[in-house]
């Protein structure tokens, strides 16, 4: 296989990591909503933790994107 084509395929595969980020963000927001529905008075206090969890989960997926970009542009 030509190197250029292999690079493209590899970058595409690396971007699959973002699927995991999607699942993670869904779980975080879903569970926050469940918890907030059960106990609305405690919801406001946990909002910073929600944002923190969202950012941490999103970042793990974006590492995959960085790998894709490194494959495309750095090599």
């Amino acid at each position: 296989m030509e190197l250029e084509a292999a690079k493209m395929i590899g970058a595409g595969l690396a971007a699959i990591a973002l699927a995991g980020a999607g699942v993670g963000i869904g779980i975080i927001f879903g569970n926050y909503l469940t918890g907030a529905m059960r106990n609305p008075s405690a919801a406001q206090k946990q909002f910073p933790n929600l944002l923190l969890g969202f950012a941490l989960a999103e970042a793990t997926g974006l590492f995959g994107l960085v790998v894709a970009l490194i494959i495309l542009f750095a090599f």
């Binding site: 910073p48 941490l56 999103e58 974006l62 994107l65 960085v66």
Partner: protein, 247 residues
């Protein structure tokens, strides 16, 4: 149509403004990145200066924004790192405001996002990492290494846990910088890709990606704030580790 302007990566290009300055082979020219860093810093100074000039009991709008940003950061430090971290307020406030303003200035059309370059975020994260390590060793001495030995772990697992803890500690600056960089770069690339769709689909089909573009801009403004917040709060958490060992 200019072919270059359709490339979504074109916006991240750094070019020099004005004369080239070379000192001992190191290129120190004034670039668009330095320009937008200076603009962000000037905006922060302007906001804080105008906000605290007239100290009214019933605050004006700009004074309100200044007070809100102050209490926001102060509360964040107090909640996550405890009252002993209060002396680090100036550093974390500066960090938060700088990242926030760089992100927000980057959201303006035709501007440059400083934080979408890994070297900028990596330097910021390295300052936090080195600073926190120095604070930890200065406060606890050699006992700071206890950070790598969690309490209540079975002795059999301990060697493995210590190795994992050391790796996770050393990966802090990488994850901290890559998080901010990747979020900003991915978001801006996505905006430009959708902007490209608007042009290529033309007057007939371009309305759908245009709507997406507007929605994504809203999302990106949220992300711009969120990433500044996360950077600051993670700094607070690391500081908490260094100041209050095992609490």
């Amino acid at each position: 149509m200019n072919k270059m302007s359709l490339n979504p990566m074109h916006q991240f290009e750094v070019y020099k403004i004005g004369p080239e300055i070379n000192i001992n082979g190191i290129n120190l020219s004034f670039t668009n990145a330095s320009l937008f860093m200076a603009i962000s810093a000037t905006l922060i100074i302007l906001l804080l200066f105008l906000g605290t000039k007239k100290k009214l009991l019933v605050p004006s709008k700009i004074q309100l924004v200044t007070e809100m940003s102050y209490t926001f950061v102060a509360k964040m430090i107090n909640d996550t790192a405890g009252s002993s971290a209060k002396s680090f307020f100036p550093f974390i406030f500066t960090l938060f405001m700088f990242i926030l303003f760089c992100n927000m200035v980057g959201m303006l059309p035709y501007s440059f996002t400083v934080t979408s370059h890994i070297i900028v975020t990596f330097i910021l994260a390295s300052i936090v990492f080195v600073g926190v390590t120095i604070i930890g060793f200065a406060k606890h001495g050699i006992k700071y290494l206890e950070l790598f030995v969690p309490k209540g772990v079975p002795l059999v697992l301990l060697p493995l846990i210590v190795i994992i803890e050391v790796i996770s500690y050393l990966s802090r600056p990488v994850s901290l910088s890559v998080r901010l960089f990747a979020n900003m770069m991915a978001g801006h690339t996505m905006l430009k890709v959708f902007g490209g769709f608007v042009i290529s689909l033309g007057l007939l089909g371009g309305w759908l990606p245009l709507g997406f573009s507007v929605a994504l801009t809203g999302l990106e403004i949220l992300v711009a704030f969120l990433q500044a917040y996360v950077f600051a709060i993670l700094t607070c958490i690391y500081l908490n580790d260094a100041l209050n060992l095992h609490h």
